[in-house]
């Protein structure tokens, strides 16, 4: 059985050996290259020229009939241009590459079999890297006694395997090289360096591209020793002396020298700055040190370092920090102490809220156990209580009190802080002056000028000044010599109301307050601007001051930005005290957009935009245009109407034909020797009211008593004159009048209807052409037979009347006919108070007759001239008439007067229109 196993094993071994030998012989034949490349493993620096040579084996050359001409080179899969080939001989060809680093690897030598089959002969891998740079900044340090660590700057990466060796030697011998650990090329630690022996140290960097040494440094290692820091540092205090701490430590043992010196530094736990104990106090070897002049009950942190006492070498690192607390002492200061009074208590009592501040740790000098409050005064002569809180409320009488406060710790009590609580009727006085508050160094500083009276202390109160929050004051106490202090724990962008109260022996002084910001900020929002009044060229803007909470600072000014929809924006700066501003000039009928920004010292904030449109017309401008136009129109209309009335005859002249009045016909006037008529008085001889109603009546009076020598040619007219006189009492011209409304036939001319009524007989009148019809001056005065059927003149019909007139004349001896006329037409008897000029009209009728006679001819020529001044007289008459009455009768009278005046001015009647009758009657003519 064992034999079988042995045979099987041997069989297996033989078979395995056969297979191995077979593979080896076959593989060796198959894998044997036909050539090789020199160099085999090149390392090339970048930007350098590299040449490789491919050498073919003689065996392959003969077997495959090859030569070096058939060699070609490839880098990866890219064939190298033939220009870079060089045929060295039959079996070797080289290639030269300018910059291998940019080409990569591998570089292969190939051959073309049978002219078409590419066959790889050999390949090499090209490594690209740099020669090492000269190490720089070599420095060494001895840690402890023996280890020396040297560091250097190896320079740029070589990308090749580079070794760095730290070499050292004494003047008499070479020392052992220091080989850095793997993957470290910039430092090495030398074991067991010997101090007090000068040595040279340098670094040698080596790779395949070369080697380079650093500069040598020569030193005595003792001069570069850095000891390990002291350890086991402890701090202990003393119950006897609260201002000292003892620091203990252990010195480093592994040191090449014995003498040490130290630096000891300390600080309070919360501080960042260290205090260094004077080095001369720690310049000898020791293991403890007592630090004095420390604050009681304060934690201090210590740290120590050491070095060679001779000063050679370096300071060790600082030791680990160790802290200790000085022992307690009694509080060094009395607590800040203040009070508030709540007067709303029962009769004779008041609540006093005593309050005080906890002492800062630096003043407490220990843990404060409680506070001792003592109150003296009032009914309770003495009151004392221990309290743990920092406030206490007492119900005391209105009497003055003195309160005192002590803080106590395990060692003792502080000095008392005394406060006088004045009586109910106390009046505060003597305030501080020049109170100012300003930010500086991120603190809000308060400064004031002390009063002249001696001050015990100052109380500074402050609170956030807000529209929404109540003023909850915080406070702090300052000493009597303080003029400047700062407030703590304030917020930015908040308005603080700061009050400073001086405290005197008898109580507090008058408080003074000021507002201030620790740090201002731009307002939270801008003002809401709106218009109060918008005019054509201006707009009055109004706004409200920002609430305190939104101001975030003192509002220094406002800026109003306004613009049109297409125009540039204009800015106007407004003082912060204003709440109204008038923008001008603005363009009318324009849309304006306006917004407003409020600025503090730190910036501004825009408010919402507000739009308004200026009107096209200013207020009252329309009225200023319309009213004058209306007035002008009204005036024009009125003038037109007046003109119409004034020029009524002229209008009538143009509209209605001017029919000559037969009643005006005078034979005498036809004579070229007609005497000159009297001038008619312009005003004062106006006819009295009611005397005449017919403007076209020309009255010719011939005084009977007056013996006038008439020209011969006019004597023939006497009869006619008498008739005229007679007519005066019966006829009043055109339109007729009440006078003519009598049943008696009137001599009113051309009133055919009347004439038709009064007489049935047809009378032919002669047409009197005096001044010509329609301004046609006749060259010859002619008489023509009238075809009028109007009744003849009375004088013609009743010659006896003429006789009466001739005998009696005018005046008192007037005929009954004349009396009748007066009774019906003249109101002298009815109204004896008539104006003089009215009465004088009647009296001067003869003068008018003269006027008619003398100027009859002239008036025809002057008609146009006199008409020019007529309207003015008319106005004057209207005014005069207005003075006499405002009744309808008066108005009617005015019209009559105007008509009369016009008739007298023009000297002759021109038309016969229906006329209003003064007595209310209307007589158709």
């Amino acid at each position: 059985m064992n034999l079988c196993k042995m045979l099987a094993l041997w069989t297996w071994i033989v078979q395995a050996l056969f297979i191995f030998l077979t593979i080896d012989s076959v593989g060796g034949g198959l894998l044997k290259p036909c050539g090789h490349i020199i160099p085999e493993s090149p390392v090339v620096a970048p930007n350098t020229t590299f040449t490789a040579i491919c050498v073919l084996d003689e065996e392959c050359l003969s077997e495959h009939h090859l030569n070096a001409n058939q060699i070609f080179w490839k880098i990866k899969d890219t064939r190298v241009p033939k220009e870079q080939y060089t045929i060295l001989n039959r079996t070797a060809a080289s290639v030269t590459l300018e910059d291998v680093s940019s080409l990569g690897s591998p570089l292969t030598c190939n051959i073309l079999l049978y002219g078409q089959i590419e066959q790889n002969i050999y390949g090499i891998q090209i490594r690209v890297g740099w020669a090492p740079e000269k190490p720089k900044n070599l420095s060494c340090i001895v840690n402890g006694q023996s280890n020396m660590k040297c560091q250097w700057d190896p320079g740029k990466e070589t990308h090749l395997d580079t070794t760095y060796v730290l070499k050292s030697e004494w003047p008499t011998r070479q020392l052992t090289d220091c080989i850095p650990p793997p993957n470290v090329n910039n430092s090495c630690t030398v074991d067991m360096v010997v101090v007090y022996v000068n040595m040279d140290v340098w670094v040698v960097a080596t790779n395949v591209l070369g080697n380079v040494s650093s500069d040598r440094i020569n030193f005595d290692p003792i001069d570069i020793v850095q000891l390990l820091p002291p350890y086991n540092v402890t701090v202990s205090n003393s119950k006897e002396i609260s201002s000292i701490l003892k620091v203990s430590w252990a010195n480093p043992v592994d040191k090449p020298f014995e003498g040490l010196k130290y630096n000891i530094r300390y600080r309070t736990k919360d501080a960042s700055d260290w205090t260094l104990i004077p080095p001369e106090d720690t310049a000898s070897t020791r293991d403890s040190f007592t630090v004095q002049y420390l604050k009681p009950f304060t934690e201090y942190v210590f740290s120590i370092r050491c070095m060679n006492r001779e000063g050679r070498g370096f300071w060790s690192n600082w030791s680990a920090e160790s802290s200790g607390v000085t022992y307690e002492a009694k509080p060094s200061n009395a607590p800040s102490f203040w009070y508030e009074i709540d007067p709303s208590q029962g009769h004779g009592y008041r609540l006093v809220h005593l309050k005080w501040k906890t002492l800062p740790r630096s003043e407490a000098n220990g843990r404060i156990l409680d506070y001792e409050v003592t109150l003296r005064g009032g009914k309770t002569s003495h009151f004392s209580r221990l309290i743990n809180d920092t406030k206490m409320t007492l119900n005391i009488t209105n009497d003055p009190y003195v309160a005192s406060l002590k803080a106590r710790n395990i060692v003792g009590s502080s000095d008392p802080s005394t406060l006088t609580i004045p009586g109910h009727d106390f009046k505060a006085a003597h305030p501080i002056t020049n109170l100012k508050a300003f930010p500086k160094d991120n603190e809000l500083w308060v400064q004031w000028t002390p009063p002249n009276e001696p001050v015990n202390k100052y109380i500074v109160e402050w609170c956030v000044f807000s529209d929404n929050l109540p003023c909850t004051p915080d406070w702090q106490q300052e000493g009597s010599a303080t003029k400047l202090t700062y407030l703590r724990d304030l917020m930015e962008s908040k308005c603080y109301l700061i009050t400073v109260i001086p405290v005197y022996d008898d109580g507090p002084g008058s408080p003074q307050s000021v507002k201030a910001y620790l740090k201002q900020a731009p307002p939270s929002r801008g003002p809401f601007v709106r218009t109060k009044k918008v005019g054509k060229n201006e707009a009055v803007l109004v706004w409200e001051h920002l609430p305190i909470d939104d101001q975030n600072g003192f509002i220094r000014n406002y800026t109003i930005f306004y613009r049109t929809s297409s125009g540039n924006e204009t800015a106007v700066h407004v003082n912060s005290s204003h709440t109204e501003y008038t923008l001008s000039p603005l363009t009318s009928d324009t849309l304006y957009m306006v917004r407003m920004a409020a600025y503090t010292d730190e910036g501004g904030k825009d408010g919402p935009e507000f739009t308004f449109t200026t009107p096209k017309f200013a207020q009252g401008e329309i009225e200023a245009i319309v009213v004058p136009v209306c007035l002008a129109f009204l005036l024009t209309t009125l003038l037109g109407v007046l003109l119409c009335f004034n020029k009524l005859d002229l209008i009538k002249k143009h509209i209605w034909p001017n029919v000559p009045d037969p009643s005006k016909s005078h034979i005498a006037q036809w004579s070229p020797h007609t005497p000159t008529r009297h001038n008619l008085h312009p005003k004062d001889q106006m006819y009295p009211e009611g005397n005449f109603t017919d403007t076209d009546v020309s009255v010719v009076e011939i005084e009977a008593n007056e013996k006038k020598h008439l020209p011969e040619d006019l004597k023939s007219l006497d009869l006619f004159k008498k008739e005229k006189i007679t007519t005066e009492g019966h006829s009043s011209g055109i339109g007729g009048s009440s006078c003519m409304s009598s049943s008696r036939p009137s001599i009113s001319s051309n009133d055919e209807s009347e004439s038709g009524q009064n007489t049935s007989s047809t009378v032919q009148y002669s047409t009197v052409v005096h001044s010509g019809y329609r301004h046609q001056v006749p060259s010859v005065q002619v008489f023509s037979r009238s075809e009028s059927t109007q009744p003849l003149l009375d004088s013609e019909e009743r010659p006896e009347d003429l006789q009466i007139v001739e005998n009696g004349g005018s005046g008192d001896g007037a005929s009954p006919r004349q009396q009748y006329f007066k009774q019906n037409c003249n109101q002298d008897e009815i109204s004896p108070d008539l104006p003089h000029f009215e009465r004088s009209k009647q009296v001067s009728s003869v003068n008018e007759e003269d006027f008619v006679r003398l100027t009859q001819q002239q008036m025809s020529d002057q008609r146009s001239q006199s008409s020019g001044s007529g309207p003015m007289k008319d106005f004057e008459d209207i005014s005069a008439a207005d003075n006499f009455g405002a009744s309808n009768d008066g108005q009617i009278q005015r019209f009559e007067t105007i008509g009369l005046e016009a008739a007298t001015d023009e000297g002759m009647p021109k038309s016969y229109l229906p006329q209003t009758v003064r007595q209310g009657g209307y007589v158709p003519q």
Binding site: P171, T172, Y196, M199
Partner: protein
């Protein structure tokens, strides 16, 4: 030809000096520095550390370590001329170095080499010729030593270190008498031979 010969001679001399001077790449510090360094090196205490490390830090063992020394004492050394003194120091240090040629004394061994280096440099500062440095002593065959770590080994090494300490203490004392410059040492010069003869006389008399 003459000039060429002289140049070649100068070159040869330079090369010879470089070959002779051990400090081919490094230079010795000045005399004053060397003196200071040697003084400080003489203060180095190896015995305490050895006693502590080997557990021999007890009073009676200290007495046990203390014994006669084969090294020159202060009285002997202080009368030697500087060069002789330095050469004596060098030879003694090398002797101790040979005796403590064990890994546990590697640090001390290197330290002794440093002393020898400074002595050599000091000799160069005192002598114009660079050959002043004594040639490395041929290694003498030391008597068989006890097993390393054995108590007897510790005692023996303790004695050697103790002797070294005393010797270096003596050296330090002598160096303290040296001035700031090589020529300031004013003392009665005696040859090493006379010193040795006087020492023998003392031994015989005692």
């Amino acid at each position: 030809m003459w000039a060429r010969l002289r140049l070649s001679s100068l070159f040869g001399l330079t090369c010879g000096l470089l070959w002779l001077c051990p400090a081919a790449g490094s230079t010795c510090p000045v005399y004053q520095t060397l003196l200071c360094q040697l003084k400080n090196m003489a203060k180095k205490d190896f015995l305490k550390a050895f006693m502590t490390d080997q557990g021999l830090n007890s009073p009676h063992l200290n007495e046990t370590c203390t014994g006669s020394s084969d090294f020159p004492v202060t009285e002997t050394l202080k009368d030697l001329p500087p060069v002789t003194f330095l050469q004596t120091v060098s030879q003694t240090v090398r002797l101790i170095e040979q005796k403590l040629n064990e890994p546990v004394f590697k640090r001390m061994h290197i330290y002794l080499q440093g002393i020898d280096n400074n002595v050599c440099c000091m000799l160069q500062a005192l002598l114009p010729a660079p050959a002043a440095c004594p040639a490395p002593a041929s290694r003498r065959t030391l008597s068989p030593t006890p097993t390393v770590g054995s108590f007897s080994w510790k005692l023996e090494r303790c004695k050697i270190i103790q002797s070294y300490q005393r010797f270096m203490e003596a050296v330090g004392k002598v160096l303290e008498t040296w001035g700031a410059s090589p020529g300031q040492r004013n003392r009665k010069r005696r040859s090493l031979l006379n010193v040795l003869l006087g020492q023998r006389r003392k031994v015989r008399a005692g």
